[in-house]
C-alpha cells in the first residue's frame, strides 16, 4: 500500500498501487486519522480497491474500523454489468439499520417516568437470544411472504399504518428479492425472530432533542427542541447471519471459478452477471426485506408499550416515523459518473445512503431537503440527524457514515470496565439502561467507541451531509 496523503482537512487518499484498480479515499479529521492509522482498516480500504469493476474510489467514512474483507464504514461501487458483488461489502447483519421515531412528548414529562418506560420497552421487545419473540413464531410460508413484502407484510398484519412506508428507504421493500435462493437453515433461524432486537450493539433508545442546527429542516421533520424521540437499531437477525454465511461459501467458490484475484479471501465475490452474483443479490434483497419488517414490527411493539405505560392515546403520543435507514446493504443505483448516468452496485457496509435533494427515490415531502441520515452514537452518547447533499452525490455515491465506530476491542473494553459500575456511571449522567446480555454492557461501554460528534462534524465539514439535530440519550434498552 502506498503512503497516505492528505487532500484537505477532511479527506485523505491512498494512491493506486499494484493490484488496486482505483485509489482509496478516506473521510477523516486529522485526529480521527491518527486513531484510524493505528489499526488495519486502511489496508482494507486498499484491498477493496482490487475488486473487479470498482469505480472511482474505494471509499471510507470517518467511523471506519476493521471488518471482514471490507472495513466497517466502507463504500464501494462496482459496475452493474461488468463488476462484482461481495457479501463482505454488506456484512453478516444484512440491512442492519436504524429508524427514528418522533413523539409529541417533552423530556421534562418523560424524565420522572424514564425507568418505568425503559422497563416497559425492555419487556415488550425481546432480544430474541435464546428466547421466543413477542409475536407468534412465523411459519415458513409467512417468512417467505416477509422476504417478498418487507415492511409491507408488517403493515398488512397490523403493525403500523400504510403511510409509514413512505419514510423507509425503498419504501421498506427491495424489489426483485428471491426467497427461493435462501437456505432452509436461514428460514429456520428467521421463523422465531421477527420482532426481536438481538444483542451486541443493537438497542432501543429514548433521546431528547438537545440542539437544532437547521431550524427550517427540523421544523419540516416535526422535530421540536426538548421533545423526545426514539431510535431502534437492529437488522435481519439470525436469518441474515445465515444468508451471509451461506453466500460467503458460495462466493469463495465463485472467486476461484471466475479467476478473480483478491488479496483477502474475505473479499470473496462473484460477477453480478453470474448465477452466483444474481443469487446473492436476490437473497440479500429478500433478507433486507426481513430487516425492514423487523424494525416495523418492533416500532409497533414500542408504540404499544409506550401507550400502555403512559396511559395515553396515540394522538397525544404523536409517534411518527421520521426515517428508516439501512447501513449494511448493496443496492443497484443510477449515479452520474463523468457526465453519464450509469448503473452501479453500491456496497455500504457500516455506511448509509445519503441522497441529496432532488432524487426521485426520496418521498415528495423530503425531496427538496435531502434524505435524512441517522447517525446513532454508542450507548450513553449523543446521536445525530443530518441530511444528504449534492456533494454526497458527486463524491461518495450518495453515502455517509453510520455511527461512531469502535476503537477498543471487546476484551480491551471489558478490561477497562473492570471495577467500574457502568450502570451507575450512566445513571449519574441521567441515562437509565437495561441490558439483557451480561457481557453486553462492558463490551459496549462508551469508551470503546470513537467520538460520534467528531465523525459527524467531519462529514458536515466535508459537505457530504448537513447536520440538523443532536440528540442526547435518556434511556436505553439493549439486548
Amino acid at each position: 500500500m502506498n503512503e497516505l496523503h492528505q487532500i484537505n482537512d477532511n479527506l485523505w487518499e491512498i494512491p493506486k498501487s499494484e493490484g488496486m484498480h482505483v485509489p482509496g479515499r478516506i473521510y477523516a479529521s486529522k485526529s480521527l486519522m491518527r486513531k484510524i492509522h493505528q489499526g488495519e482498516s486502511l489496508k482494507q480500504v486498499a484491498n477493496v480497491a482490487h475488486l473487479p469493476g470498482i469505480i472511482n474510489f474505494s471509499l471510507a467514512m470517518p467511523d471506519i474500523h476493521w471488518g471482514y474483507g471490507f472495513p466497517i464504514g466502507g463504500v464501494a461501487a462496482t459496475d452493474a454489468v461488468s463488476g462484482v458483488i461481495s457479501p463482505g461489502g454488506v456484512g453478516y447483519d444484512i440491512n442492519c439499520g436504524v429508524r427514528l421515531l418522533r413523539t409529541s412528548l417533552s423530556a421534562d414529562f418523560i424524565r420522572p417516568k424514564i425507568k418505568d418506560l425503559v422497563t416497559a420497552l425492555f419487556q415488550a421487545v425481546p432480544s430474541g437470544v435464546g428466547s421466543h419473540g413477542a409475536i407468534r413464531k412465523l411459519s415458513r410460508h409467512d417468512v417467505k411472504t416477509v422476504l417478498l413484502k418487507g415492511a409491507g407484510w408488517a403493515i398488512e398484519n397490523g403493525f403500523g399504518e400504510a403511510e409509514t412506508l413512505d419514510f423507509i428507504e425503498d419504501n421498506g421493500c427491495l424489489i426483485n428479492a428471491d426467497p427461493d435462493v435462501i437456505s432452509e437453515r436461514a428460514y429456520q433461524r428467521g421463523m422465531p425472530q421477527l420482532g426481536t432486537l438481538g444483542s451486541g450493539n443493537h438497542f432501543i433508545e429514548i433521546s431528547k432533542i438537545s440542539d437544532i442546527y437547521d431550524k427550517s429542516i427540523a421544523n419540516r421533520l416535526g422535530l421540536i427542541k426538548d421533545n423526545i424521540v426514539l431510535f431502534v437499531h437492529t437488522g435481519s437477525r439470525g436469518l441474515g447471519y445465515q444468508v451471509c454465511d451461506d453466500f460467503i461459501k458460495v462466493t469463495m467458490q465463485a472467486t476461484r471459478k471466475y479467476g478473480i484475484n483478491v488479496p483477502d479471501r474475505q473479499l470473496a465475490c462473484a460477477p453480478l452477471e453470474s448465477r452466483e452474483g444474481r443469487d446473492y443479490l436476490g437473497a440479500m434483497r429478500a433478507t433486507a426485506n426481513f430487516a425492514f419488517a423487523n424494525r416495523q414490527v418492533i416500532s409497533a411493539l414500542v408504540e404499544s408499550a409506550m401507550l400502555k405505560s403512559l396511559s395515553m392515546n396515540p394522538n397525544d403520543l404523536g409517534m411518527r416515523l421520521i426515517w428508516d435507514i439501512a447501513h449494511n446493504i448493496a443496492k443497484i443505483e443510477t449515479h452520474n459518473i463523468d457526465g453519464k448516468d450509469r448503473k452501479v452496485c453500491v456496497h455500504r457496509k457500516g455506511a448509509t445512503r445519503a441522497f441529496g435533494p432532488g432524487r426521485p427515490e426520496l418521498p415528495p415531502i423530503y425531496r427538496d431537503i435531502g434524505q435524512p441520515v441517522l447517525i446513532p452514537g454508542d450507548m450513553g452518547t449523543e446521536s445525530y440527524l443530518a441530511v444528504g447533499t449534492p456533494k454526497a452525490m458527486l463524491e461518495t455515491f450518495g453515502s455517509s457514515c453510520h455511527g461512531a465506530g469502535r476503537v477498543l476491542s471487546r476484551t480491551q473494553a471489558k478490561k477497562q470496565s473492570r471495577g467500574r459500575n457502568l450502570f451507575g456511571e450512566l445513571a449519574k449522567a441521567g441515562i437509565f439502561v437495561m441490558a439483557e446480555g451480561k457481557s453486553t454492557m462492558a463490551e459496549e461501554m462508551p469508551d470503546a467507541y470513537k467520538d460520534v460528534t467528531e465523525v459527524v462534524n467531519t462529514m458536515h465539514n466535508a459537505g457530504i451531509t448537513k447536520k440538523v439535530v443532536r440528540f442526547t440519550p435518556m434511556g436505553v434498552v439493549k439486548g
Partner: protein
Amino acid sequence: MKPFYHEFEQTSDLGIEVSGLSLKNLFENAVYSLFDLMVDGKNISEKNHRKIELKADNRELLLRELLSELLYLFQTKYFVVSRINITDLDDKFLTAEIYGEIPESEKYSIKREIKAITYHQLNISQTKTGYVARFVMDI
C-alpha cells in the same frame, strides 16, 4: 468443565484461541468454549443425544462447520451442549455424539449472542503439547 481457551484482541468481534492435547480434544474444547461464551448454564443434563456428521475441505473449515452446526442447533432448537464425544475425525470428515438438553429458562441465562463463526484468522496448528486453534466470531 473449564474450557481451555482465552480471548485475543479483535476490534469489532470476538477472537478465541483454544488448545487441546489431541485434534479430537481440540475440537471438543472448541465446542465447550463456544457454549461457555454463549451461555451461563447450571447442571445442563445429557438427556438429549444427537449424532452429527460433517465434512469440509480441510481441518480448519471442518472446525468451523462443527461450531456453526452447534450454533445453529442452539439458535433454532435452544439445544445446549453438555458433552461432546468426537468418534471419528480426519482432515475432511468428522462424526460426533453430542449430549445436552433444551433447558428450562431457569437453568440458564444468555451471556451473548453469536452471529456466526467467521473465516478470519481461522487456523489450527500443532504445538509441543498438542494443538491450538484460533477463530473469530461475529457478535
